[in-house]
């Protein structure tokens, strides 16, 4: 009276719920660290774009004084100065957050992560604010 054997059943599974690439930039449900992850990538990509933009602009120097001096006049107008402030903020955050990622990422201060992150955000914001004032005030430097 041997009854048939039952086969083991491995249900075919559906795809995992992955946040994927779009998920990187979806701040919902994210905490401070996750926002730093997003900001680091955004500022990073922004700086890479700026690197090549900067090289293109510097290429105008070959065409001699007129082209370059006209560009400088435009670059000193308020909309461009505003862009400079954005660039400065991005640089400050990416750099300071980089210090956190570098130190913590090599196991130097693994339990200080949040403190370093908060410090990075605060310092970046402060210096960016001071920088903005000086940029718009027109007189700069030492």
């Amino acid at each position: 009276m041997a009854s048939p054997t039952v086969e083991p059943r491995r249900p075919t599974t559906g795809p995992a719920h992955r946040r994927g690439l779009v998920g990187w930039f979806d701040p919902r449900g994210r905490r401070l660290g996750g926002l730093a992850f997003i900001l680091n990538r955004l500022t990073g990509l922004g700086l890479v774009l700026y690197l090549y933009l900067h090289l293109m602009i510097l290429s105008m120097l070959i065409q001699g004084p007129n082209a370059w001096d006209d560009f400088v006049d435009i670059a000193l107008s308020p909309p461009f100065l505003a862009l400079d402030v954005v660039l400065l903020t991005g640089m400050l955050f990416h750099g300071l957050n980089g210090i956190r990622v570098g130190l913590v990422g090599l196991g130097v201060v693994p339990n200080r992560q949040k403190a370093l992150l908060v410090a990075a955000l605060v310092i970046a914001a402060l210096v960016a604010f001071v920088g903005a004032l000086r940029i718009f005030a027109g007189e700069q430097g030492g």
Binding site: A2, S3, P4, T5, V6, E7, R9, P11
Partner: protein
């Protein structure tokens, strides 16, 4: 798996993915049976998983239920051997707070020793040195070989070994009816909840290992099983307030145990009786009582943050009219429904405790062997089970 026996022709279908079902699948596979186990939810999602995690030394039962006490201490030694690295073996303390507790101590210690359970009197000072968070007003304590287990991972070792031995383990598979014709159960009809497909599984024998749901399944075969679901409330608070298991030294009552679980402490338990094991509820007054009784032993529990409070339904065997669950016997029984209801091919195993899952499986497997005329000794006292993570190996 050392199965040196010829492959048996018999196929056993086990209903119920709790500790008993897992241990029985492991035992039967070692005895050469072909096994299919079905469970409507996740494994151990019934009573098994909600257990507070005490690996019983049996001391709690020594005075009033000697049979259970002896059963526990024997099983504890076997489980340490067949499930190595699965228990926190820090022993336990029965603490005496009031004079009545102290008066209870001689009978308690003598009953423990008579049951083969080592019990050592511990002075107040030594007890506080071992567990600094104990109530400073304690009078004395008794050290017993209690240990703690993970109520999901320890049984999962048996499922992992059964599965590796060829048992077919099918969670998410609900039994819709039993295949019964003129007093013979020939299999089960199931629905696979992962795709809604219904199918029949033929079996030479169906085992009802559904714990407090035993009666609901037995009714499907026209059988009757005197199982009363007796829920108890358990409270988990944040903070590991003890390493040893802390019990109250008095006749068994409510809230008389604190079991450490990782970063939590679990206080248990209370007891009442219900009919439907699916609808237990968590009465707040019971939770309050856990806080109070737990704080009597460890004052810090009074203000500890509540992590969770839940109910677990113990399957207690006894006559219908028992109103409080505690008098019912905590040992287990295996019902061969040919003898109790004249129905062939259907066996129910129920009652018992988390610690005695292996012994319950051995008893049931012996009954099954006798019913189908197979000579196969039990091997689960020696065979070491696989780690629980092996269950998830592809």
């Amino acid at each position: 798996m050392t199965t040196n026996l010829p492959r048996q022709p018999f196929h056993v279908a086990i209903v119920g993915g709790g500790g008993t079902g897992g241990a029985l699948a492991h035992d039967l596979v070692l005895r050469g049976f072909r096994v299919t186990l079905v469970e409507r939810g996740e494994l151990t999602s019934g009573t098994t998983g909600r257990h507070h995690g005490l690996l019983h030394s049996g001391a709690r039962y020594a005075v009033k239920d000697r049979e259970s006490a002896v059963e526990c201490i024997e099983e504890r030694e076997i489980l340490r051997r067949v499930c190595p690295g699965t228990f926190e073996e820090n022993d336990g303390l029965f603490v005496a707070i009031t004079d009545e507790d102290v008066a209870y101590e001689p009978l308690f210690v003598e009953s423990c020793l008579a049951s083969g359970i080592p019990a050592r009197r511990v002075s107040r000072e030594e007890a506080l040195r071992l567990e600094p968070h104990l109530n400073p007003d304690l009078k004395m304590a008794v050290q017993v070989p209690d240990a703690t287990m993970d109520a999901m991972r320890m049984p999962l070792r048996f499922f992992a070994s059964a599965k590796a031995g060829g048992a077919v383990i099918r969670p998410w598979t609900a039994v819709t009816e039993l295949l019964v014709a003129d007093h013979l159960v020939s299999g089960i009809r199931v629905r696979d909840l992962t795709n809604g497909v219904e199918e029949e599984i033929q079996a030479d024998l169906v085992v009802n290992a559904t714990g407090p749901w035993a009666e609901q399944l037995a009714v499907m075969a026209g059988c009757d099983v005197p199982i009363r679901p007796s829920p108890g409330v358990l409270l988990a608070v944040r903070g590991r307030w003890c390493n040893m298991v802390v019990n109250r030294l008095h006749p068994s009552g409510d809230g008389d145990i604190v079991v450490p679980q990782r970063g939590l402490s679990v206080v248990g338990t209370s007891s009442w009786v219900v009919d439907d094991p699916d609808d237990l509820g968590v009465p707040e007054d019971h939770v309050e009582r856990m806080y109070a009784e737990g704080a009597a032993m460890i004052p810090a529990i009074r203000t500890a943050e509540r992590r969770a409070a839940w109910s677990a339904a113990r399957p207690l065997i006894g006559s219908r009219d028992a109103d409080s669950g505690r008098e019912l016997s905590r040992t287990f029984k295996c019902f061969d429904h040919r003898e109790t209801d004249g129905v062939e091919g259907f066996v129910t195993i129920s009652g018992g405790k988390g610690t005695t899952l292996r012994a319950m499986a051995e008893t049931t497997a012996d009954v099954i062997c006798r019913k189908v005329g197979v000579e196969a000794p039990c091997q689960t006292r020696e065979v070491v089970t696989l780690p629980h993570t092996a269950y998830y190996a592809a």
